[in-house]
Amino acid sequence: MRRTLFESLSRGPLTETAPRPQDTDIAELAVAVERSARRRLGRSLAIRQVDAGSCNGCELEIHALTNAFYDLERFGLRFVASPRHADVLLVTGPVTKNMREALERTYRATPDPKWVVAVGDCARDGGLFAGSYAVVGGVSEVVPVDLHIPGCPPSPNHLLQGLLALLEISGK
């Protein structure tokens, strides 16, 4: 183990430069911020991820955010296990009817101020699964959504762009 650690110190980090947030994301978030009063949260956000019925593709790319290349935590963003510790809910999937109540309760358990980010094409409007007897539809049909990040699944870079935009706006 010591050898591996020393090797990584001498080789230097793999972490890549952050992508620039997109103007469209900033625009969507700015509108969301207008709608509610909120305290300045500094430069750190705790995220609770909620899979509301996704195929797991979005989860894989969200996981990638924590790898050495994207290194989410250097931005002050981190995943937490309880919605009670969270500032942000990161929601994936076409909300299944089986997950509707769990998503609602998770949202209510998250203290204010909070934001909801809907990740992936399914989270926007049910995607390919819209119209099924088992599916409600987009996340916004169940809880208010502050930002949509499209993709099937969105790449870690696209996810980072959205989250960095949220960080910029929430700090204002």
Binding site: R48, Q49, C55, N56, K97, N98, A102, L128, Y133, A134
Partner: protein
């Protein structure tokens, strides 16, 4: 007791079903097949229902020796059928789900509580087209004893993970029983498939379980191709295998690290995460999508490899071969980590065999089955690889199986890149009047994926997708018994069952 061969021979196989026979049987023969399963002379591959012009249940079986496959079909005019689960436990959840979706009643099943139906749909039996009164509140299995407490976990649980509910009964720190309740990711894919054109069906299949999108794509495509008697060109077979092995590598490398992380050993997780990311970037570069979603289609594949892509893949192989041995050494030499993984979450070999435990879960507990070998499918018969099998059945064994399979997959990718035949990457498919029935069985990274479908007039009449997790989830309950609650994440990740694939 007639053998599977005899049962099949006694019926009249449906002509349009390929590549293995589908035989309508009588209730007596159906029950005889249950006997074969209970005696261990056949393995259950799938059990699903059908509604429409008439009701029926279908059962896919793997014969002794793992070579022959057959589907038995039983008409259910009275909306009921003799339960297989009454004699063979692996069928119980499949029959509970069948009943919850279609309303077909398994006679003699010991447990008919709903499965996948959590009481949130606006109807019962959504695929059976009948209304019914609302189901009773769900009763978890009773537990008797002193000093027992319940721990409910999920569906929102852990960190970044799919939704599922785990009801623990614990005595102090020790798990007396784990009972799962799944279905939170049920999207009704089977209903969306009915009447869908082939292209939409392929996209739905690819999103049944995102981490196995390539394997599902291949299984669906092979079922379509079997139904229509089409053979993709050799180059397409090789490119499919290349994508499948890259998917296997990416998942195994990510999982080895993630399992170690669930024992708080973040160093392995960090380094394995780097290797996984390198594979995803190579996949993006070669195939235009990090997960290679929608790259396998009926008839072939959508993207070809350039000579630049071949160089990219050779570089990827070299990078992984350079770094992976050090990680194996790191895992093997960290005593505190071995202390967590060895002798934890043991899956008994007898149970693994009875359940036809799929993939690495079975192979870490002595079950020597890999669909790439038996029944086998192109191009694997032309490639040189071994199927590692271990017997300890603990978390450590499930890590070592993945390590060995990474080595085999690296060798496969190397062979595929060197032997890639020239030629087209798709065979033309005349979809307008496409009709027939097909079955596909493909080895995803976690185990065999089964796809059964019927086509008529260019559309999918019905399509059933059976995730390998159906024969892994129940085994997690067996493996966790007697372990401490704190070892659940370790055990769960060592299985890495699919929630979305199972719920479908």
């Amino acid at each position: 007791m007639p053998s599977l061969e005899t049962i099949v021979a006694q019926g009249r196989a449906v002509e349009t079903h390929r590549p293995w026979p589908r035989v309508p049987v009588s209730p007596e023969l159906w029950t005889a097949a249950a006997g074969e399963l209970a005696e261990g002379r056949a393995t259950l591959l799938g059990l699903w229902g059908e509604a429409g012009t008439s009701y029926a249940v279908h059962m896919a079986l793997l014969g002794e020796g793992n070579r022959d496959i057959a589907v038995l079909s039983l008409a259910c005019p009275e909306l009921e059928f003799p339960s297989i689960g009454g004699r063979h436990a692996p069928a119980i959840r499949l029959e509970r789900a069948l009943h919850s979706l279609y309303g077909l009643r398994p006679i003699g099943i010991p447990d008919l509580r709903p499965w996948l139906d959590l009481g949130f749909w606006d109807m019962q039996f959504p695929l059976g087209g009948r209304s019914a009164p609302a189901p009773q509140p769900y009763a978890f299995l009773p537990v008797e004893g002193e000093n027992l407490h319940q721990i409910p976990v999920g569906p929102v649980h852990a960190g970044i993970i799919e939704p599922g509910h785990f009801r623990f009964t614990a005595s102090g720190e020790t798990v007396a029983r784990l009972e799962e309740r799944l279905g939170y990711a049920h999207k009704g894919i089977e209903s969306l498939m009915a009447g869908a054109p082939l292209e939409r069906g392929a996209r739905l299949a690819a999103r049944t379980s995102g981490d196995s999108t390539v394997a599902y794509g291949i299984a669906f495509a092979r079922a379509i191709e079997a139904a229509l008697n089409i053979d993709p060109p050799p180059r397409a077979h090789y490119l499919r295998a290349l994508m499948a092995e890259l998917e296997r590598l990416a998942n195994h490398l990510g999982d080895i690290g993630a399992i170690c992380n669930d024992a708080s050993f973040a160093l392995m997780h960090a380094y394995c995460g780097v290797l996984r990311e390198l594979i995803l970037r190579a996949s993006q570069s070669c195939f235009g999508h990090r997960l290679m979603m929608d790259r396998v289609i009926p008839g072939g594949v959508t993207t070809d490899l350039s000579s630049g892509d071949v160089t990219t893949l050779r570089n990827l192989l070299r990078q992984i071969k350079d770094r992976f041995p050090l990680l194996i050494e790191l895992y093997d030499n960290t005593a505190s980590l071995q202390d967590r993984t060895a002798a934890t979450g043991i899956l008994d070999a007898v149970i693994a065999r009875r359940f036809g435990a799929a993939g690495f879960v079975g192979r870490a507990s002595g079950r020597d089955f890999d669909a790439r070998k038996t029944p086998g499918y192109p191009p694997y018969p032309g490639l040189d690889f071994r199927v590692p099998v271990l017997t300890a059945g603990d978390v450590n064994a499930r890590i070592w199986i993945r390590i060995r399979e990474v080595e085999q997959s690296l060798a496969l990718v190397e062979q595929i890149v060197e032997q890639l035949p020239q030629g087209p990457i798709t065979a033309p498919i005349e979809t307008a009047e496409a009709s027939g029935e097909g079955l596909g069985l493909v080895e995803s990274f976690r185990g065999d994926v089964l796809v059964s479908l019927r086509l008529a007039a260019g559309r999918i009449v019905r399509c059933h997708l059976r995730d390998p997790s159906w024969f892994q989830w129940p085994l997690l309950e067996a493996a966790i018994e007697g372990n401490i609650v704190a070892d659940f994440p370790l055990c769960n990740k060592s299985f890495n069952c699919s929630y979305s694939g199972h719920d479908a």
